[in-house]
C-alpha cells in the first residue's frame, strides 16, 4: 500500500524530511483531536465486541420476573426490560453481533466491488457498459427497500441480512475502484511495469489497484456506519435477527412498546449505543479523509 501511495502522488511535501505515512498520520492526528476521539471510541467498541461477554454483570438471556421493568439503578445501570433481563448486559453483548454483521457485509462488498471495478476499469468495453447499467439499476432502488426485498426473497436469516447489506453497498465500491483504475490504466508507472514483463493481471493487482485503497478506506469507514444502521433497521422491522438474541434494533423495537407508558430506558439505551457506534464510524471516515486527502479537509 505504501509503495502504491508514493507512486502516483509526486510527493506533495517533498521539502520535508522524515515524510513517512506514519509521520503524516501522527501529524494530522495531533491537529485533529476529534479523530483521536473517534479512534478511542472505535477501540472501546472493539473491546466490547471482543471481551463483552466476559465483562457484563448479568447473563443477557436470564429472565427475572421479580425485577421486571425497573428503572436504571446501581444494580442495573440501564434498567431491566419487561422480562427482567439486564439492559446493560444485553446492549454490550449485542455489540459483537452488530459489528460482525456490518464488518462482514462491508468486507463482502469491498471484495466484490474491487474485483468488478478493477476489471471494468482496466479493460473497459462491453463489460464496462453492462456493469454500469447493472449498478444503475441497483442504485435505482431505494437501498433500504431493496435490502428488504432481498431478505424477503432469500429468507429471513442473519446471513441474508449480510448479503442484502453487501449488495446495496457494492455499487459504491465498484464505482470508486473503476474510476481510480481507469485514470491510471495508461499511466507511466503502469506502462513501465508492463514493459518490464508483468502480465496485465499483475499490473492491475499489484501496481494499479493499491492506489484505490486510500479513498476506499474512507468509504469503508463511512459504510460501516451505514451498514450498522441498515442491519439495525432491518431487525427493527422484524427481519434477520430474532428475539431473544440481543441486538440493538430489536431492543429498540421491544422498548418502543413501553415508551408510551414511560419506561424509556428499554429503548433509549440501545438506541443511544447504536447511535454512538454509527457516529464513531462517521467521525472516523471524516478523519481518515483528512489523512488520505488533505485537499478535502473542511
Amino acid at each position: 500500500m505504501m509503495a502504491g501511495m508514493t507512486a502516483p502522488h509526486p510527493s506533495r511535501t517533498a521539502g520535508q524530511k522524515n515524510d513517512t505515512t506514519l509521520g503524516h498520520i501522527v501529524y494530522v492526528l495531533k491537529d485533529n483531536p476529534v479523530t483521536m476521539l473517534a479512534f478511542a471510541m472505535l477501540a472501546f467498541f472493539m473491546g466490547c465486541a471482543l471481551f463483552g461477554p466476559l465483562l457484563v454483570p448479568y447473563d443477557p438471556l436470564a429472565t427475572n420476573a421479580a425485577r421486571a421493568l425497573e428503572a436504571p439503578s446501581w444494580d442495573h445501570w440501564f434498567g431491566t426490560d419487561n422480562l427482567g433481563r439486564d439492559v446493560f448486559s444485553r446492549v454490550v453483548i449485542a455489540t459483537r453481533l452488530d459489528l460482525t454483521i456490518s464488518v462482514a457485509a462491508v468486507a463482502l462488498s469491498f471484495v466484490i466491488g474491487s474485483i468488478l471495478g478493477s476489471i471494468t476499469g482496466y479493460w473497459g468495453g462491453w463489460l464496462d457498459a453492462v456493469l454500469n447499467r447493472l449498478l444503475d439499476t441497483i442504485m435505482a432502488f431505494p437501498l433500504f427497500v431493496l435490502a428488504m426485498g432481498v431478505v424477503a426473497a432469500l429468507g429471513n436469516t442473519i446471513e441474508n441480512i449480510i448479503y442484502a447489506t453487501a449488495i446495496i453497498n457494492i455499487p459504491f465500491y465498484a464505482r470508486l475502484v473503476r474510476a481510480e483504475v481507469n485514470i491510471r490504466r495508461n499511466a507511466g508507472f503502469a506502462q513501465a511495469a508492463k514493459l518490464a514483463g508483468n502480465s496485465d493481471l499483475r499490473v492491475l493487482a499489484v501496481h494499479i489497484f493499491p492506489n484505490a485503497l486510500p479513498p476506499m478506506m474512507v468509504q469503508v469507514s463511512l459504510n460501516l456506519g451505514w451498514a450498522i444502521l441498515n442491519a439495525a433497521g432491518l431487525s427493527f422491522i422484524g427481519l434477520g435477527v430474532r428475539p431473544p438474541t440481543p441486538e440493538w434494533g430489536i431492543m429498540v423495537a421491544e422498548g418502543a412498546n413501553f415508551i408510551v407508558s414511560g419506561e424509556w430506558w428499554m429503548a433509549v439505551f440501545p438506541g443511544l449505543w447504536l447511535m454512538l457506534a454509527v457516529f464513531t464510524f462517521n467521525l472516523l471516515g471524516d478523519g481518515l479523509r483528512d489523512i488520505v486527502d488533505p485537499r478535502k479537509r473542511t
Binding site: T137, G149, A153, G155, G225, G233, A256, V268, M275, L283
Partner: protein, 339 residues
C-alpha cells in the same frame, strides 16, 4: 428539434434500460421465493393435484424465460398479484396507501429544506464561525441517527413527558372522521372541505413523524448547500459582480444562491431515495398507514406478492422522480443545450 428537447428525449431514453433492469431484478426477487411458490399460493391445506393445478395456472411449469414474459404482461396490465392478508389486489392496496406515504415524505422534505438550506447558506457565508461548526455537528449527528430511534425519542419527549403531541397512532385521531377523499392528502382534502378542525388535527399527527424524517435528511441537504454555496461564491462571476459594485444581498441571493441551487436540487433526488427507505421505519414507529407499514406487515406474515409489489413500486417511483428532476433541471437551467 431544439437542443433542449433533444436533451430531454435523451434523458427519457436513458431511463428505459434502468426501468427494464428494475423489472428484471424484481422478477428475480419474485422467483427467488423460499420454497415452492405454487405450494405457497395453494395454502397449507392443498394436496398434490391442486398444487400442480396452481403451478400450471401461475405458469410456473414454463421456462424461466417464458415466465418472465408472463410477468411483464401482468405488470403492463397493472397486476401485481393478490395480497394474502388483505385479500385485495396489491395494486389497489398500494394505491390506497400511497397518498399517506407521499404526504409524510413531502412534508418532511419541505420541513428539511426550510431548515437545511438557510443553515447551509449561513455556514458558507461565515466559514469558521459558530454557525459553521453548528452546521457540521448537526450534519454528522444527523447522519448517525437511526430514524426509528429518533422517532421513539420524540414520542417520549413530546407525547409522554410534554403531552403536546397526540398519541402516535396513524394519520388522524379516532374522534375525527377522515376528510372526503379527493387527493388522499389529508391536509389538502381537509382544506378543500373547509374543515379547519380536522386540518389542525391532521397536522398535529403529522408533525412528529415528519420531524423525524426531516432530521434524517437535514444532513445531506445542508452539507450540499454549504459546498455548492462555497464554490459558487468563489466563482469568477461573483468577483466580477462584486467589482461592479453590486450589493451583497443581490450577489448572495441573485447570483450565488441561484447557481448553488442546481446541485442542491440534484441532491434532493438522492435524499428522496433515502427518505423512501427511512419511511418504512418511521411509518412503523408512528403506526402511519402508508405503503411502508403495509410492506412491513406483509413481511411479518410472509405475504411475498405484497412485498415484491412494494419494492417494484418504490423503485419505479424513484426512477420517475429522478427523471422529473432532471427534466426540470433542463427547463430551469438556461445553459443546458447551449454547450
Amino acid at each position: 428539434m431544439s437542443p433542449r428537447s433533444k436533451m430531454i428525449l435523451g434523458r427519457v431514453a436513458q431511463a428505459i434500460p434502468v426501468v427494464m433492469g428494475v423489472v428484471v431484478i424484481s422478477f428475480l426477487l419474485t422467483r427467488a421465493l423460499p420454497g415452492d411458490p405454487a405450494a405457497y399460493f395453494a395454502g397449507p391445506a392443498a394436496d398434490e393435484a391442486s398444487i400442480a393445478e396452481i403451478r400450471e395456472a401461475l405458469g410456473l411449469d414454463k421456462s424461466l424465460f417464458q415466465q418472465f414474459f408472463f410477468y411483464v404482461g401482468d405488470l403492463v396490465r397493472g397486476d401485481l398479484g393478490t395480497s394474502l392478508t388483505t385479500g385485495q389486489t396489491v395494486t389497489s392496496d398500494l394505491a390506497a396507501r400511497l397518498p399517506a406515504s407521499l404526504e409524510l415524505t413531502l412534508v418532511a422534505l419541505l420541513l428539511s429544506c426550510a431548515i437545511a438550506i438557510p443553515l447551509g447558506v449561513l455556514a458558507a457565508t461565515r466559514p469558521g464561525t459558530w454557525v459553521d461548526h453548528l452546521c457540521r455537528v448537526l450534519v454528522t449527528a444527523g447522519v448517525s441517527m437511526p430514524t426509528f430511534f429518533t422517532g421513539i425519542a420524540l414520542i417520549y419527549v413530546f407525547y409522554y413527558i410534554a403531552g403536546l403531541a397526540p398519541s402516535p397512532l396513524g394519520r388522524l385521531d379516532f374522534i375525527y372522521l377522515s376528510p372526503q377523499h379527493v387527493t388522499g392528502f389529508y391536509l389538502i382534502d381537509a382544506a378543500l372541505a373547509g374543515d379547519l378542525e380536522t386540518w389542525i388535527a391532521a397536522l398535529k399527527q403529522l408533525i412528529l413523524p415528519a420531524t423525524t424524517l426531516a432530521l434524517f435528511t437535514l444532513a445531506p441537504i445542508a452539507r450540499m448547500t454549504r459546498a455548492a454555496m462555497l464554490s459558487a461564491l468563489s466563482a469568477d462571476f461573483i468577483r466580477t459582480a462584486r467589482a461592479a459594485g453590486l450589493g451583497s444581498r443581490k450577489i448572495l441571493y441573485g447570483y450565488a444562491f441561484r447557481n448553488a441551487l442546481l446541485p442542491v436540487v440534484t441532491t434532493l433526488g438522492m435524499v428522496f431515495s433515502f427518505t423512501l427507505g427511512a419511511n418504512v421505519l418511521v411509518e412503523k414507529v408512528f403506526a402511519w398507514p402508508g405503503i411502508g407499514s403495509y410492506a412491513v406487515e406483509a413481511l411479518v406474515v410472509s405475504d411475498y406478492a405484497a412485498v415484491q409489489g412494494f419494492v417494484l413500486a418504490m423503485a419505479l417511483l424513484f426512477v420517475v422522480l429522478n427523471l422529473i428532476i432532471d427534466i426540470a433541471y433542463a427547463l430551469i437551467d438556461p445553459r443546458i443545450g447551449l454547450k
